[in-house]
């Protein structure tokens, strides 16, 4: 068997790798230390190079030779890079206009490494981990990238990967990869609009994606390079620091090493609180020789980081606005990235969003338990899919003529017996397309009215009902249902243009209606009597 195409999700904070094993399952690969979420960190102690979790541990003792958060620097000019990102580790330096790092390799030997080289070394470590796990040499990969990566960045990644012995056969967007993995495991039953929200360590990304007949179209994207899990860490650090200062009259923030210790413990505490309702922290000699022991419960944590949590929710709202959609147009929010393990995130969304929006996070039984493994899994799935295509076929398939496709702007559907519009083909459906609906037990003569429709949000004010005395006593229901009128919002379709009308007679045993739009935007509607096979057809 030829060796599989490796799916790589390369993050600023951590990276994951996956492949499709011979049993045809997605296998997320653990490195030799057993880490499935492999910290994107390289650290040097003299001759020795450390990677992943081992490198991350060096951040306290050996920060200046420990490189963190470097992914986004690839392909950027030195002055474009947000260097504050790597303040916890090795400071960035300018190497020929690119970002780089000066690493002490023992004695007076200082090695200057460009970010391209750092990325190559990191990818090589991932490749080795995969080969160790699979027992085959790996030469091809599908790499996921943020939707805002430039061509220059892609080229730089391609070159770095080549240096590590990997050919990138396809770049795919992180949100699409995650959505692909989700759909593979939990297929949607109908066409949907999904917000894919990825909350990482130092940045947050979101995309509104229309899923039509299994084809994904990105309607809007949003990025926040200053929002992520690190903000939660900082809230916790600040909480602990203030507590420590009060107890010991000594400020742990002013010493870099004390701060690094606090940070490392805050991250552990944060992750613990995703699973447990309380956590203890215990740091020996945190600052000025004082130890620090305390415990914190989940509620305190959620209060402390409350502002950050509302930023996450707000970020999703902004993305939906950018797509010029209403929240009622959204069917689901898919939560990805390490931060999505946090229960508060999903809780907030479930509370803020109407019930029609399904929150697909680890709390949902119809979603993955590992939101941080979605994108590498999607990459692996895509790798399996294109393994059957040769390079030319693939290149052809990725041409602009294939990718840039016409998309419908208004819903097309028909009127039911009550005169209500029933959408059949949703806006943002790419065509050519064909959709078939079956009316099983139809009997008699029918009118099939095909319309184009606009969707509107209808708001109705519902006056609170006068409550019977006894129920007013029941406190819990009473609490928040004060006497303010409630506004109910719902999404409705208003047929705007009549397109085609078909009449079909003497149907005895059901009816099939086929909507077809060819590549020249010609709509054709066909009604077929399931029993007699009689056909009525009209087209624009």
């Amino acid at each position: 068997m030829s060796s599989p195409i490796l799916g790589i999700s390369f993050g600023n904070t951590s990276s994951s790798i996956a492949y499709i094993n011979p049993k045809n399952d997605v296998d997320v690969i653990a490195n030799p230390d057993g880490e499935r979420s492999i910290p994107s960190v390289l650290s040097y102690v003299g001759e020795d190079e450390y990677h992943g979790g081992q490198a991350l541990q060096q951040l306290i003792r050996n920060p200046t030779n420990t490189i963190v958060n470097f992914r986004d620097f690839i392909g950027l000019k030195f002055e474009e890079a947000d260097l504050s990102r790597c303040s916890a580790g090795a400071p960035a330096i300018d190497i020929d206009g690119k970002v780089g790092f000066a690493i002490n390799r023992g004695e007076d030997n200082v090695e200057k490494i460009t970010v391209d080289e750092v990325v190559a070394r990191h990818l090589n470590r991932l490749k080795l981990a995969a080969e160790d796990y699979i027992g085959q040499t790996i030469s091809k990969t599908i790499l996921t990238i943020p939707t805002d990566f430039t061509d220059v960045q892609r080229d730089a990644l391609t070159a770095a990967a080549a240096k590590s012995g990997l050919k990138i056969v396809q770049f795919i967007n992180e949100p699409s990869a995650s959505l692909l993995a989700h759909v593979h495991a939990f297929p949607f039953e109908k066409d949907v609009n999904v917000v894919v929200a990825d909350f990482g360590g130092v940045r947050s990304d979101a995309a509104v994606i229309a899923v039509r007949n299994g084809i994904f179209t990105v309607l809007a994207t949003a990025h926040d390079a200053k929002l992520g899990g690190d903000n939660l860490d900082e809230a916790l650090i600040e909480y602990f620091a203030a507590d420590f200062q009060k107890k010991n009259q000594c400020n742990p923030r002013k010493n870099a090493r004390s701060y690094a210790k606090l940070r490392s413990n805050a991250i552990i505490t944060k992750k613990t609180l995703s699973n447990a309702t309380s956590a203890t922290i215990s740091v020996e000699s945190l600052a000025d020789g004082f130890d620090y022991h305390t415990s914190i419960n989940r509620m305190r944590y959620e209060l402390t980081a409350g502002k950050v949590f509302s930023q996450f929710t707000q970020f999703i709202n902004t993305t939906i606005e950018k797509a010029k959609l209403d929240i009622l147009d959204i069917d689901a929010v898919l939560l990805c990235g390490g931060v999505s393990f946090t229960p508060k995130l999903a809780n907030n969304l479930e509370f803020m969003f109407p019930e029609s929006v399904e929150i697909l996070g680890p709390q949902n039984k119809d979603a993955s338990n590992s939101p941080n493994e979605l994108s590498c899994s999607g990459a692996a799935l895509q790798g399996r899919l294109i393994a059957d295509y040769d390079a030319d076929e693939l290149k052809e398939a990725l041409q602009p003529v294939v990718l840039n496709t016409m998309h419908l702007q208004k819903a097309i559907g028909l009127l039911d017996a009550e005169g209500k519009f029933v959408p059949v083909i949703l806006p943002e459906t790419s065509y050519p397309v064909q959709k078939t609906i079956t009316v099983k037990n139809a009997k008699g003569d029918f009118l099939i009215g095909v319309y184009e429709a606009d969707s509107k949000i209808k708001e109705t004010t519902v006056e609170p009902e006068a409550k019977p005395e006894s129920e007013a006593e029941a406190e819990d229901s009473e609490e928040w249902s004060d006497d303010e009128p409630e506004i109910v919002r719902e999404k409705i379709y208003e047929p705007s243009t009549k397109l085609i009308e078909l009449g079909i007679k003497d149907v005895t045993k059901g009816l099939q209606i086929i909507f077809n739009i060819n590549k020249d935007a010609v709509l054709k509607v066909t009604a077929r009597d399931l029993k007699s096979g009689n056909v009525v057809q009209g087209h624009l």
Binding site: T405, G449, E452, L523
Partner: protein, 433 residues
Amino acid sequence: MLSLPALTSDITVSVTSGTKLTESVRRPIEPVGKDFMHHATRTLRNHTWSEFEKIQAEQNVQKVDESNVDPDELLFDTELADETLLAHDARDWKTADLYAAMGLSKLRYNATENQIIKAHRKQVVKYHPDKQSASGAGLDQDGFFKIIQKAFETLTDKNKRKQYDSCDFVADVEPPKKGSEYDFFEAWGPVFASEARFSKKTPVPEIGSLESTQKEVEQFYSFWHRFDSWRTFEFLDEDVPDDSSNRDHKRYIERKNKAARDKKKTADNARLVKLVERAMSEDPRIKMFKEAEKKEKERKKWEAGAAARAEAEAKAKAEAEAASKAEEEAKAAANAKADKKKSKEAAKAAKKKNKRAIRNCGKDNDYFGDAAQAAAIDEQISLIVDSLDDEQLVDVADKIKADASAAKAVLAEAAKGFVESGKIPASLVAYFA
């Protein structure tokens, strides 16, 4: 569940004139997933949705079609097996290979009726004189077509086919050359399989394998020894003239034919008997069974002698056991004797030692402070010692050994005992009593 409005006016199709779909927008779609790959194929091949579905459906159907080829066709000859048939004189059709003419050279007697009909149809299409002359072939090809027709006639008549098959020597399989090295089953399997076609009885047992049981092998050969063949040699008859004028000649020919047939039949039976004999003599299984039988006999013989052998063995064993037992007993007795002697000697030594210890106790204890009476004390102790029985001796000696200072009291007690029992007069042990 969708419910449609009823039709109120009498329309079939009404398209609102001049309407168009709202202007579409060109956007990139994400190049991931199988649905995208399908989209790419559709776009690149410029297929409409329906065409694409049709092509996919066709691809599936084709796979099925391919495996649907008439399996019979594969068994027919693709080319004429024997080119000389084309030039064969049609009048001499009986000497032609009729199966080859039909394109059935591989199937022969195995061809089913259905296959014969199918094969004939194929040959007719190919070799019909109309077709042949159209393609410029000479008239003589007519002859071959006649042979085909004769073949069809013969092979579709049950009786005639039997007669033909009987003389279809091409289908006979020769046995392996004598003295050559061969695999028995590979070489003889096909021989028996071809001979089996003439069996009146069915099913015919198969040759089997090295793993066959003796019973199976015996049944196989007994079947062939008693083989009942329907093979007949009428097909080789000399043509009987049907001119009625020469009746004698006709009868003569008929008699001659009958004689020839019988002769051939006898020869064939003899051939088969020889064949089976030879096979049997070369069958490795028969050898195996014979060998096994021989071994079994030897084993039985050996077993018969076994009882006697066992008895003798048991006897010898018993004798040996008895001897060794006696020896052991003797040894034990001697040991016991020696032990007894040894213990006696030990007891004697102990006694002596005890006596000496008691005797000396006066001297050892400075005569209990009465050195003046030393001689008397020694004498009296000596008397006491001699009067002690074995048990008392040990007791007294032990007591003295344990506590020398109590020696006088111990001896006094003993003396008192003797005086009281009257064994020794009090005067003789005056010092102690």
